[in-house]
């Protein structure tokens, strides 16, 4: 199979900046993207820098962007990615500083993982035997423990693209792994930290991390579970928690969203500075006839919806 591998290159020691270099090569039909890159490095251009190790999607070293999305080069079949002209585009991951070619600097990534104290913190005397946890809870955790820390989720994260301080999906998935561990006794304290600025509420819920994760960790789903748990244990006064509360109350009351009440209920009726902040947007909407109706109607049979909300809430309170 004849392919053109277009690589986004960068060498801090020359003055070229970032540029694309195309490599034409003949390679076996069932090759991976990593096979192609190794062939380039060994047979065409020894100066091409990249990381790889296990070649089996276990070590996470070879994460890079292929045709615009982060993937492991070792478990990406070349033939699945080439366009009609037989070309693929390979770049270093985004949201990481580039050291050289496809090699990125992982320092900040690891610093953020360390921020969530990624180790078990139990209380009381050590058990005589092993720590006992239910099969169900450990099976649940196995899903998130399969993370290989490749950084693909961080690379494609929309929130990190605009805010480098956001702790990011990999660190938050790791945090979930300990919050959801029945042997850990610091869950509430952990959630208190994650509830702060740049934590769980700064995720924009775009599903990029879920889409690109090569191990099915679904980091965003873990972030949503952390939000649900944070509210449940009482961290309910952040803007995010208040927004979810207001949203839920409005749907319970009328069956559908009242967009006029939602922002007011979220920030609070007496929060004058926040309310004034809405004024320019509201005024523009009013002028263009886009203001939601002042008198919001209920969906038919709304009493059934209200009963559902109440019953589910009561059942869950009983379980707690």
């Amino acid at each position: 199979m004849q392919v053109i591998v277009s690589v986004n290159r960068f060498n801090p020691q020359d003055n070229k900046g970032k540029y694309w270099e195309d490599y034409n090569l003949e390679i076996e039909e069932n090759s991976t993207v990593l096979d192609a890159l190794i062939k380039i490095r060994e047979e065409i251009d020894g100066s091409l820098a990249m990381r790889c190790s296990c070649r089996s999607a276990i070590c996470g070293s070879c994460a890079m962007r292929v045709n615009g999305h982060a993937r492991l080069a070792c478990n990406t079949k070349l033939a699945d990615m080439t366009d009609d002209a037989g070309m693929i585009k390979v770049e270093p991951m985004t949201n990481f500083p580039v050291i050289k070619d496809l090699v990125i600097d992982q320092q900040t990534f690891w610093d953020k993982v360390k921020q969530v104290s990624p180790w078990l913190q139990s209380e009381g005397p050590d058990p005589k035997g092993e720590y006992v946890a239910s099969n169900e809870s450990m099976n649940h955790l196995a899903g998130v423990m399969a993370c290989i820390m490749c950084g693909a989720c961080v690379s494609d994260c929309s929130a990190l693209e605009v805010d480098k301080n956001f702790i990011g999906p990999a660190a938050l998935a790791k945090a979930y792994r300990f919050v959801a561990d029945p042997r850990d006794s610091k869950s509430v304290q952990r959630l208190g930290v994650l509830n702060e600025y740049s934590g769980i509420w700064d995720c924009t819920r775009c599903y990029e991390c879920v889409e690109v994760c090569p191990k099915g960790i679904a980091p965003m789903d873990r972030i949503m579970a952390l939000r649900e748990e944070a509210i449940r244990v009482g961290y309910d006064n952040t803007m995010g928690a208040r927004h979810a509360d207001a949203f839920s109350d409005i749907v319970e009351d009328s069956g559908w969203l009242d967009e006029l009440r939602l922002p007011i209920k979220t920030v609070g009726i007496f929060n004058l500075p926040a309310l004034l902040n809405f004024a320019p947007v509201g005024l523009r909407a009013l002028v263009k006839g886009k203001m939601p109706a002042i008198f919001h109607h209920n969906v038919p049979n709304v009493q059934n919806v209200r009963k559902l909300f109440k019953r589910i809430r009561n059942d869950q309170n009983k379980d707690d």
């Binding site: 775009c206 803007m239 069956g255 969203l257």
Partner: protein, 296 residues
């Protein structure tokens, strides 16, 4: 062709121009609509309610699916977010019989039961999969020749692609571009097309949300697009409504109109721009309309 129609909240709230535009286009395409929210269906939860209680969100969506099953009709939506939230809930319900039974227990009092047959689809997909691109071309009375349009899908109609059955329906990946081409316009490929508009962050971190608006609208403009087109009213709310804030925050002149997908189709069908609500946008659509010789 008849659908159980789920217009969502925003098409009749913050983007009131979308609902009438969608209804006009559907009528023209011969799509008959039975409105689910007139029959008591609720908001999907939009992923926000789910932050607090995912089970409750799944019960509400199962309830909507059960109402549609009762009508014997497939569900059609006009919002990427409704599409995504419904598809995600549906996957959880369809793949776990015990979970479905637990959810149905909650619906029993109302005499409802979700049997697992629903498959909600966006008007965009209905146009590509049921109407067909070649057939769609026959409805064009005012070709959008010369218009360069940047597609902006919105996250929930492209991700997670497994939940949205992209493997079964690979044409969903470039459905928006293909509709644009059928209407005579030229799609502009731009890096923001499947990225997040920032709307879910708006209440929590306005600065970051507005920066996303600035990045996407500016990149589409720099690539020569006349407008962005979106199948998601929430993306519209942010990209249109907060574009003035984005210009202020980044000190750039952007001013690129954001057009709802049904408005674009309606325009090509020959509807009057006012009927389609094109005068109700924060960023004026006048320039785009004048490019195809239509008065605003």
């Amino acid at each position: 062709m008849k659908f159980a129609f789920f217009p969502g909240c925003v098409s009749r709230g913050g983007c009131p121009e979308l609902y009438p535009a969608a209804k006009k286009v559907c009528a023209q395409l011969g799509i008959e609509l039975d409105e689910l929210q007139d029959r008591g269906a609720t908001c999907t939860g939009a992923g926000v309610l789910q932050e607090k209680n995912q089970f409750l969100g799944d019960v509400l969506n199962a309830r909507t699916f059960a109402i549609a099953e009762g009508l014997g009709l497939p569900i059609m939506v006009i919002c990427s977010t409704c599409q995504g939230v419904m598809s995600q809930a549906n996957k959880r319900l369809k793949t776990d019989p015990d979970y479905l039974a637990k959810v149905n227990e909650q619906l029993r009092e109302e005499g409802l039961e979700y049997k697992g047959t629903a498959s909600p689809r966006h008007l965009l997909w209905v146009m590509v999969e049921d109407i067909g691109i070649d057939n769609l071309k026959t409805y064009v009375r005012r070709p959008l020749t010369g218009l360069r349009l940047a597609p902006f899908y919105g996250c929930y109609i492209v991700r997670p692609s497994d939940d949205l059955e992209f493997k079964l329906y690979p044409n969903r990946e470039d459905s928006l571009e293909r509709v644009m081409e059928a209407l005579g316009a030229e799609p502009v490929d731009f890096p923001g097309k499947t990225r997040c508009c920032g709307f879910p962050l708006l209440t929590i971190n306005e600065k970051n949300s507005v920066q996303m608006v600035a990045n996407h609208t500016m990149s589409a403009k720099q690539l020569g697009a006349d407008a962005l087109v979106t199948p998601c009213p929430l993306c519209h709310l942010n990209l249109d409504g907060y574009q003035p804030s984005a210009m202020k925050q980044t000190q750039q002149d952007i001013n690129i109109p954001i057009i709802h997908l049904p408005q674009l189709v309606g325009l090509a069908m020959g509807f009057d721009p006012k009927e389609l609500g094109l005068s109700r946008h924060i960023i004026s659509t006048k320039k785009v309309l004048s490019k195809i010789q239509v008065a605003a």
